[in-house]
């Protein structure tokens, strides 16, 4: 089963294509990394996958053929958006209450226990938490929904190295222990190695490379995903400059 499938997917904003002719099939059970420079179309693709925006062209389905944004799709996908938006004036307990109220499933004991582990007090306002704690809270709320697919848009971009490491550890624990499929975007290439086993490289709104990490490395003779991604991005940028 594929966790996300797109065919000829495109999105146009005011006449400019942010994403063009994107055809992908991401198998379930992977931690898939969507990599590319800023403005490559990563957020656009994720927004389409979670149903926040509508395609201008093509089709996107998730969780084995469910239309993106449909009730069935929303039920099985948890999304942590860029900068982990939370209601800053609500307490951690309120955020739990809200997420529980808005979903069919919510693993409250998990959420409580996880936040205890992280030392995040339930009474504190979400806006008073550190950046790392806010990211962890958003992630905990997402995982407590027991999703089959966890979508993360630039989850670590704003975090310091320690918080970044802790955040990814939580993601990986959920992925390995529960078989949650993960689709995350990042323009930070470090740590990719440890995290991703599926890679999608985007630049200028187009998919440049997609596949299992191991296969890609073998096929391109690169030592690490970081080097592979870097080599590809240099190439496409050079092509853009000479054109």
């Amino acid at each position: 089963m594929s966790i996300m499938e797109t065919t000829g997917l495109g999105k146009r904003y005011r006449g400019t294509w942010a994403l063009r002719d994107c055809t992908l099939e991401i198998p379930a059970g992977r931690v898939a990394a969507l990599v590319g420079p800023n403005g490559a179309g990563k957020s656009t693709l994720l927004n389409l996958a979670v149903g926040l925006s509508e395609p201008s062209a093509g089709v996107v389905t998730v969780l084995g053929g469910r239309a993106a944004g449909s009730p069935a799709a929303l039920d099985g996908i948890a999304f942590v958006a860029q900068d982990t938006p939370l209601y800053k004036n609500l307490s951690v307990a309120d955020m739990i209450y809200l997420t529980r109220g808005l979903n069919r499933r919510f693993d409250q004991p998990y959420a409580r226990a996880r936040l205890d582990e992280l030392g995040i007090p339930a009474k504190r306002k979400a806006g008073k938490l550190s950046g790392g704690q806010q990211a962890q809270l958003a992630l905990t709320l997402a995982l407590a929904r027991r999703p089959r697919l966890l979508v993360l848009d630039e989850p670590v971009a704003m975090l310091d190295p320690v918080a970044r490491h802790d955040f990814m550890a939580t993601v990986l624990a959920a992925a390995s222990a529960d078989g949650v499929s993960v689709l995350l975007s990042s323009h930070v290439l470090t740590e990719l190695e440890r995290v991703a086993d599926y890679l999608i490289l985007l630049s200028q709104g187009q998919v440049r490379l997609a596949g299992e990490a191991a296969d890609l490395l073998a096929a391109h003779g690169q030592a690490s995903l970081e080097e592979l991604a870097m080599a590809y991005l240099r190439e496409t940028q050079a092509a853009e400059v000479t054109r």
Binding site: L102, D166, L172, D178
Partner: protein, 349 residues
């Protein structure tokens, strides 16, 4: 740091989904908007207390004046006089700015409760959280807006009842004020309708503008425009005014005078006061003390075949007008809320 706690295995019960029940939205809306709602309650409560404090003496004065026997005695006339004074110097008498201040209540609710509902989500990015939960985004928007609307309507309906209570002595036996006054839009029927319209304008403005402060400004502007257009032009046309061949002196009748004109030989002659040329022709001989006011000239012109006409809305139409105004405002609110939800459904991130 070790991540020991992991969520239980996701359920595979995919087949047919029962949607998340609507009632959950009650708790969600309350948690998210309790501060705003508390603010609205404080505002409405303060207005209610103020109405009570300034309305009680009026009710006492009225009760004392009505109970006084024999009514023609000097003591009773004094009580009636005292009531008249307080009745004309309060809200209804246009000498108090309160009536105008009360008109601001729906505007404030629309601006500070309605406009931020969606604008804040869009401005801070939290819509990305709210719209990707299992509840579904249009259901989320409908549930939230409907709940807030019902609460606001109930609260303002109570306040409107208090305004009507305040007004009671003035439509009693001693004194009859024109009901189509400044307070027309603040009674128990129209007040919630205006509040809902302002709330709906705010919600739509927030969805279109996507920023809190500009949405608040836009809401205030649109509400002001709607209120002025309604009071100034629209309201008098709800029902065709009655016309009568007589002259109502403004201020002495409970009817709402729409227009006054004179006719001669069944044809329209002039509107309002007689033009100077006509007065000079027919009434130049009128002694100055009798010429004062339009009545003097009216009597003079009547001798020359001019009849005065008045078109008016009788006070008996008050409740019909209340329901007509509430009706179109509710229809407008429903339309605006529907448009807002359509936009929530359609809007690309």
């Amino acid at each position: 740091m070790t991540a020991l706690t992991v969520p239980a295995r996701p359920g595979q019960d995919d087949g047919r989904l029962r949607p998340v029940p609507w009632r959950r939205m009650a708790g969600v809306t309350w948690r998210q908007h309790r501060i705003t709602l508390a603010g609205a309650v404080v505002l409405l409560g303060a207005v209610a207390v103020w109405l009570w404090i300034s309305g009680s003496p009026l009710h006492h004065a009225y009760a004392a004046a009505v109970a006084c026997r024999p009514a023609s005695s000097p003591a009773c006339q004094n009580l009636i006089g005292a009531f008249d004074v307080s009745a004309t110097s309060n809200l209804m008498g246009n000498k108090d700015p309160g009536g105008v201040l009360l008109q601001l209540v729906p505007a404030l609710i629309g601006a500070f409760v309605g406009a931020p509902v969606l604008a804040r989500e869009l401005e801070t990015g939290t819509f990305r959280y709210a719209w990707t939960q299992g509840f579904g985004r249009w259901r989320w928007a409908l549930g939230k807006l409907a709940l807030l609307a019902v609460v606001l309507a109930a609260a303002t309906s109570l306040l409107g009842t208090l305004v009507s209570w305040y007004f009671q002595p003035e439509s009693g036996r001693l004194f009859e004020a024109a009901p189509f006054g400044d307070l027309f839009s603040l009674r128990e029927v129209t007040f919630p309708a205006w509040t809902l319209a302002a709330f709906a304008v705010g919600a739509l403005a927030g969805m279109l503008i996507r920023r809190v402060v500009p949405a608040i400004v836009a809401t205030l502007a649109v509400y002001a425009g709607l209120a002025f257009a309604t009071t100034g032009f629209l309201r008098e046309h709800y029902l065709t005014p009655l016309a009568t061949a007589s002259y109502f002196t403004p201020g002495t009748s409970t009817a709402w005078i729409i227009g006054q004109w004179s006719a001669k030989d069944g044809k329209f002659a002039f509107a309002g006061n007689p033009p100077g040329s006509l007065v000079d022709r027919f009434c130049s001989s009128l002694p100055p003390e009798k010429a004062g006011g339009p009545n003097g000239f009216a009597q003079c012109l009547a001798q020359h075949g001019y009849t005065q006409w008045t078109s008016y809305q009788p006070a008996s139409r008050f409740w019909a007008f209340q329901w007509i105004e509430a009706g179109w405002l509710l229809a407008l609110s429903a339309l605006l809320i529907a448009a807002t939800i359509w936009l929530v459904r359609r809007r690309a991130a």
